[in-house]
């Protein structure tokens, strides 16, 4: 089962603040734990702040990204690149940090 969540419908075009992102991340995590796939559709989003992106996207389980169980779409290019950097940065923070390709 796949669920599409549209943050702009909840928060409007500006996604700002770590504490604002936390409940949404927890919702995504619950769905992932229940075996769902989640598509984060950023249609209508004008901008995402570093804290919001880190809290929502970078703190999601790395394997969920790697296995394609969570995806982000329609985030403006520069911000999507930055968000992917945050995810990578979190990945490297892990003690067992290794390149994705060597994770198999």
């Amino acid at each position: 089962m796949s669920t599409t969540l549209r943050p702009a419908e909840i928060f409007g075009p500006g996604l700002v603040g770590r504490s604002v992102a936390t409940p949404l991340r927890e919702d995504v995590e619950r769905r992932l734990a229940a075996g769902e796939s989640v598509v984060l559709d950023f249609t209508g989003v004008m901008g995402i702040s570093p804290s919001f992106a880190d809290e929502l996207l970078a703190k999601l389980p790395v394997d969920a990204w790697d296995e394609g169980r969570v995806q982000m779409i329609h985030l403006p290019r520069v911000q999507a690149d930055f968000a992917r950097m945050l995810i990578t940065s979190r990945r490297m923070q892990r003690p067992e940090a290794t390149a994705r390709t060597s994770l198999g």
Partner: protein
């Protein structure tokens, strides 16, 4: 000295004179030093007879220092000498007695915050007001709100300030530039960054400042990302404005003359400030792109291919 004498309030008279805009905030920090380091009750006379102007970082610091003294129950009495225009505005902002605020030639904002919810509400409202006054585009307003939020979150997440923080803004009438300031009298950057075991060896305030402006450095790596200050700094500078960071005995400035140096007096807590030009683009995506580029380059320097780490 007997304990009873130590508890007896003494008179503390501080005169603010001239301009405290931009770099002159350093002079204000010096002038307010006795109040910032207060350890016994005082009767404060804040003489603003000679005050010409007070920039946003300076106003934020003044309000934060007064609030800290009040919170510590060290203000037995406080009064503003000279209720001119500036005096009345300060009276309203600091809560020190005075006449009601009169009209000012420009827009001044000062607000205290302790929680993230309070911070988010303030930055949303303030960015909207400044955008309307400066004619910013919706994306620029959002970028400004994000930068203000990132600076404010440094207070709520890292400062351990019993009195929270203060956000201020100042937009003189008929100008293409406004200032913002964020102040707290918390633990300061050096103590904060040393909480991260990777940075427990921080040597002094200057070393601490050099570390906290580096991307991905934070006192709480499992909670925060360490990108907030770099993003704000890059965005303000790219706009053609300036960014100012002061904590302990260290100060950093970016803009026309970028520098980081040791200074005095010691500032308890942290003060950030920025000037924003409304006649030039304000684009946070510039910072996103620059930091992404910096990150990719640092990975390559270590012999990695970013594609090996990148999520799909």
């Amino acid at each position: 000295m007997h304990g009873r004498d130590r508890d007896r309030p003494v008179l503390l008279r501080i005169a603010l004179t001239g301009t405290y805009d931009g770099d002159d905030v350093e002079r204000l920090i010096g002038d307010l030093d006795p109040l910032a380091r207060l350890s016994r009750p005082v009767m404060l006379d804040l003489d603003v007879s000679g005050l010409v102007s007070l920039g946003a970082p300076a106003a934020a610091w003044l309000v934060a220092v007064v609030e800290r003294a009040r919170h510590a129950d060290l203000l037995a009495h406080a009064a503003i000498i000279d209720s001119k225009r500036a005096g009345a505005t300060l009276a309203a902002a600091t809560g020190i007695g005075g006449r009601p605020p009169t009209a000012v030639h420009g827009y001044r904002f000062m607000e205290r915050f302790s929680t993230q919810d309070e911070l988010h509400a303030i930055t949303e409202a303030l960015s909207g007001t400044l955008a309307a006054r400066g004619g910013l585009l919706p994306a620029e307003q959002l970028g400004l709100r994000m930068c203000l939020d990132e600076l404010g979150e440094n207070v709520t997440f890292h400062a351990d300030s019993p009195t929270g923080g203060v956000i201020s803004a100042w937009h003189p009438a008929d100008t293409y530039e406004f200032e913002i300031g964020v102040a707290d009298l918390g633990i300061g950057m050096r103590t904060s960054i040393a909480r991260n075991p990777e940075h427990a060896d921080v040597a002094d305030d200057l070393d601490a400042m050099a570390r906290v402006v580096t991307p991905r450095v934070t006192s709480t790596p499992h909670r925060n990302s360490g990108f907030g200050l770099p993003i704000a700094s890059i965005t303000f500078t790219a706009n053609g404005g300036a960014f100012y960071l002061r904590s302990g005995a260290a100060v950093a400035k970016t803009g026309m003359n970028t520098s980081m140096r040791a200074t005095s007096p010691h500032l308890p807590g942290t003060l950030t400030g920025a000037s924003i030009r409304t006649d030039r683009p304000f684009d946070i995506n510039v910072a996103y792109a620059e930091l992404r580029q910096h990150f990719d380059a640092s990975l390559q320097e270590k012999g990695f291919d970013v594609d090996d780490f990148e999520t799909r």
